[in-house]
Subunit: 348 residues, 2 copies
């Protein structure tokens, strides 16, 4: 029987609640489809930081390297640890260290979910560059605390980084409806984004079967609201992908439904799976967080691990629940009620 | 009789169509309210670039300095001149040279307009920093054209720049519903955006009557779609404001309705007024562009020039037209039909 070794990092706030839910469902799917999950839980979080001075131990990355995949709940507890510390101490270094350069986020309305748009028939896969660009962390502050202060934040785009995410995007587009939109802001950022456009044109030459369209981030944000059904695969930089995927989450009914996978396509290091939502301190530990995004992310994990049937069964079970109105409106059902409904559908 | 000296830069594509419409309405308002507009038209555009090698003459900025205000249609014709050239040669230098640091963009549904959201009752004023930040133009490319290429784009935020836009935003919030949302991404950009958050906290201390809320750009994009009625004044950096105002345009029914003012609040140089939309080459010169955004922008210009009554009358005339369904759906009415309907309402 195949055994998959999974590192769990529930993290902060509702990260803990939804990780429990997601792993309960993934385990039920494993049972049904004849494989096992060996999970090990790491307490890395803001509490851990307050206790130890670090979000994860110095050898954290090395420890994680021994796993087939990482499942993460959510990171951040801004009341006690600034986000700029917690995220740069845990989430962002994992994405970079394991070259999880493709952040995949699907946006579509689950059965039974009413989104904020009048328009409903969209099915978008957003692929976000996940290791460099606007998140490179380069920069500094000069004359700090004085009237003459200047703060500098530098985006760094490499040929390697831009080319690999675009190739990944074209492969995905080829496996879907054959359309790719590459998002930049080359009319205002004349180095980074003009470069991205150039690489897009080059890579596109290798995919004559995929239609490609460049689009500025501002126009793209508007289009996701005005005409989301016109989109198939979106490829965007780290920051632009961050923004568009929260927008994608919104049009699919909210962050409770937005799943994500941080993929290392070369498979020479573990990939990481996490819902798009944050730790939501205000509702943490109250059994009211919507676990659907987290469960869907677990399905993406199983798919990545080669358990496509189990992944598909989880997704079908989620929609069996939402089609009945379970988990579709904020506050209508508890975390555990939603989880049990999905589990029942999965085992039926 | 007061005479206002206005520089017109119709620019490219539908910029020409809508500038004509906007000035026709502004002139009609002037007639009704007893002042005059002395306009001078400058042909600066992509055609001008192709003919002269420059988007505007070397002394273009000095020429414009002699006017009370600038009205701009749209800039860009990417088929012949890259946007990174045309915009850095005309639009962006004007915003910077005249310290038009406050880009104001109102987002609400005009009477009779059906937006893409189920939610309708929002009234947002987005204030975008307009002179620095992600648009500073600093950066470069190393090892260009080789596999080892690196492209660098540097955002520069100054104490002066951040503080002045926030103060402007707090003043606006005070004059509206007393709520300000400051948009950053301090969880990922630890220099620029953490700095912005700090300045927000400092400036907020001078406005105890305004409630202030920091929010990340990704969450904000989602919120504009999920709960736009919860927003009053938004203050954002140059790039974030660019994105949010296209999104704001989308929720108000499209770019045909999105007006904007590039304001120099210190009034030591002319301010510039322009619709948010671009030059739309595909529909240029066909008398089908929606002129409402442009007309609304002209109203903002008159308001800035002290002609508040005329500005209000134009806005009322626009809504008299849209309330009858004129100009509310793409293609339903020609540019000139919409313009004439607004004019008739204004003169009625
Ligand atoms: C928490 C934050 C740093 C993170 C990001 O911006 O990448 C989150 O918003 C996400 O989308 O995964
Ligand atoms: C044309 C472009 C450079 C411009 C901008 O990004 O500022 C436009 O999108 C706007 O919003 O005025």
């Amino acid at each position: 029987m195949t055994n998959h070794k999974i590192a769990l990092i529930p993290g902060d706030g509702i990260g803990v609640d939804v990780t429990d839910a997601a792993i309960e469902i993934a385990t039920a799917a494993a049972r049904r489809f004849g494989f096992t999950l060996a999970t090990e839980t790491f307490p890395w979080s803001c509490d851990h930081y307050l206790a130890t001075g670090r979000m994860m131990p110095e050898d954290g990355i090395e420890t994680l390297r021994g796993f087939e995949a990482i499942y993460l709940g959510a990171v951040g507890w801004p009341a006690t640890v600034p986000d700029s510390v917690s995220l740069h101490g845990l989430l962002l270094p994992i994405r970079k260290a394991f070259a999880q350069y493709a952040n995949m986020r699907p946006h579509r309305l689950l059965k039974g979910v009413e989104g904020p748009l009048r328009s409903e028939g969209f099915d978008i896969l957003c692929i976000r560059e996940n290791t460099e660009g606007e998140y490179s962390g380069a920069g500094g502050r000069v004359h700090q605390g004085t009237p003459g202060e200047v703060a500098i934040q530098t985006s760094v785009f490499t040929r390697m980084g831009v080319e690999r995410i675009l190739r990944f995007g074209f492969e995905q587009a080829r496996a879907r409806r054959g359309h790719l939109t590459s998002v930049t802001k080359s009319n205002a950022q004349q180095y980074s984004m003009v470069f991205w456009d150039e690489v897009t044109r080059e890579v596109a030459a290798d995919y004559p079967d995929v239609s490609v369209e460049p689009m500025h981030i501002d126009a793209m944000a508007a289009r996701m609201v005005m005409a989301p059904e016109s989109l198939d695969v979106i490829v965007a930089s780290n920051l632009f992908g961050d923004i568009l995927t929260d927008l994608g989450a919104a049009i699919q009914g909210g962050l409770g439904f937005a799943a994500s996978a941080n993929i290392n396509p070369d498979r020479n290091a573990p990939s990481m799976f996490e819902p798009v939502h944050g730790s939501a301190p205000d509702i943490a530990g109250k059994d009211i967080a919507n676990p659907i995004a987290a469960i869907w992310s677990a399905a993406m994990m199983l798919d990545h691990l080669g358990e496509a049937e189990a992944a598909a069964a989880i997704l079908a079970a989620i929609e069996a629940a939402t089609a009945q109105g379970i988990g579709t409106r904020p506050g209508s059902h508890s975390t555990s009620a939603i989880t049990q409904a999905v589990k029942a559908a999965l085992e039926a």
